[in-house]
Amino acid sequence: MLSVEGLCVSYGLLRAVQRLDLTIAAGEVVSLIGANGAGKSSTLKALMGLAPNREGKVSIAGRTISHIAAAQRVRSGLALSPEGRHVFPDMSVAENLLAGAAGASRADADCRTANVFAMFPKLMSRQSQLAGTMSGGEQQMLAIARALMSSPRVLLLDEPTLGLAPIIVDELAELIETLRAGGLAILLAEQNVEFALAVSNRAYVLDAGVLVKSGNSRALASDPAILAAYLGL
């Protein structure tokens, strides 16, 4: 569903991501793991067209999108739930969701809102609350729900477990499984290696912007050399 060839991201002289290749199939969860500053967020931003200096070929369902702007990438089926949630703080939950349906007709947007509320009943009961006043976990759910409002085929999740209580992390794992079973392709960037390897089918390990290992998540989870060398576990 998503295929990436030779992705490079740089900030001035710093090369944050170097010639990364990756693929994700529909109905597959793939995790991108690595220490702080390994280049996970830079990869996700570049896929969305939001990193300033990027190179490489990105295609979604066979269509090349590397040359188009973020708004068009969203329309062709890519969605990002950014690191740090980035909800619109002075807008209500319902308005945040509506903002996530950019380009859809009002009727479509209402229909998608109903679907999202069915998936996140807590958001429905808070629909007129200002997003900035919600708890971290609620904001995280809202950020994911908002990304789903564009009806994506590929969902990019950046550090969704950051700052969440264990019980909420379990809920998140269930949600990811539900979305995957519905045919979504999910790329999960995570510091929480244990969580990432538990919910994903495959994983890529980044170190200082370079892909050092990839493979089956279960196999990686039982490879102490990898865990120790690149992830400090």
């Binding site: 973020a70 619109f88 703080p89 807008m91 903002a99």
Partner: protein, 288 residues
């Protein structure tokens, strides 16, 4: 007492102009984080369209209230494409825009001065007066106040409920997230400038029968609008409306006792005190 009531009515119509001009400024600041120094000239051009249409072409006054904002939409696109949009992506884009819009402001002002000359020009608005006991309100002034508040309410509803309003607020509150969810932030920026220009244009067309047209009318109002935006809070819509109307009222009351120069001095003292005491403005953060 009668004098105070009369001055309050006069102050209200001036306040509507300040609020409308300040609204455009504050929306543009909220979405694009730039200060449009040419904003006063957009107000002046709205007045100029009215003068030309009414006095030279014989167009009915009420028609110019549609004509002026429509023409200003086009001027807004031009302003964005020439002096704002291309500079924003540069490294020092924000300060470049201060200079470029200032240049546009001087260009427009001097152009109009050169062609039309400095003499004030009258425009006939609505005729007739309303007499409420000791207070005399011209129909035109009443019209300015009523239509001004209708415009403000309409704008508020648009910001709250329309898709454009929601996307505009999203872009103002978190530009990165807005881009990430597929909002075309550059297009929203252009449309915000067009909206600001149209509001300034209709404000100019509304006020010109009350104040008369002069090429300097934009300068006079925009300076007050800057005060309003700073005191009301950069990017705050309720701040712009309340402070705009408030400034018009205060100015009219102070005018009873003091000369015009003194009034201006008092307003700038308020600005300084406001900045020192509440640098984020009375209504705080970003556009909402």
């Amino acid at each position: 007492m009668d004098l105070i009531a009369q001055q309050l009515v006069n102050g209200l119509s001036a306040g509507v102009a300040y609020a409308l001009v300040a609204l455009g400024l504050t929306l543009i600041f909220g979405v694009l984080h730039v200060i449009n120094f040419a904003h006063g000239e957009l107000y002046m051009l709205g007045g100029l369209v009215t003068v030309i249409a009414c006095n030279l072409l014989g167009v009915p006054y009420l028609v110019t209230l549609v004509l002026a904002p429509v023409i200003m939409l086009v001027v807004g696109v031009g302003l964005d494409k020439l002096a704002i949009g291309p500079l924003l992506d540069r490294r020092d884009g924000l300060s470049d825009v201060v200079l470029s819009t200032f240049a546009v402001s001087l260009l427009l002002l001097d152009l109009v001065l050169a062609v039309v000359g400095p003499a004030p020009e009258r425009v006939e608005g609505l005729s007739g007066v309303l007499i409420l006991g000791p207070v005399i309100i011209s129909h035109q002034r009443l019209f300015v106040i009523v239509l001004g508040f209708i415009l403000i309410a309409g704008l508020d509803a648009m910001l709250r409920y329309s898709r454009f309003g929601i996307e505009m607020r999203a872009a103002a509150q978190d530009r990165f997230a807005a881009e990430a969810v597929g909002i075309d932030v550059n297009a929203i920026g252009t449309r915000t400038i067009m909206l600001g220009a149209a509001i300034a244009g209709i404000a100019g067309a509304l006020l010109v029968p009350v104040t008369q047209f002069t090429p300097l009318m934009g300068q006079n109002v925009v300076i007050k609008a800057f005060v309003v935006v700073v005191i009301g809070g950069m990017g705050s819509v309720p701040g712009a409306v309340l402070c705009g109307v408030g400034l018009g009222l205060i100015e009219a009351l102070v005018n009873i006792r003091f000369s015009e120069g003194m009034t201006t001095a008092i307003i700038y003292s308020l600005l300084l005190v406001g900045l020192l005491m509440r640098p984020q403005g009375l209504f705080g953060r970003a556009a909402r």
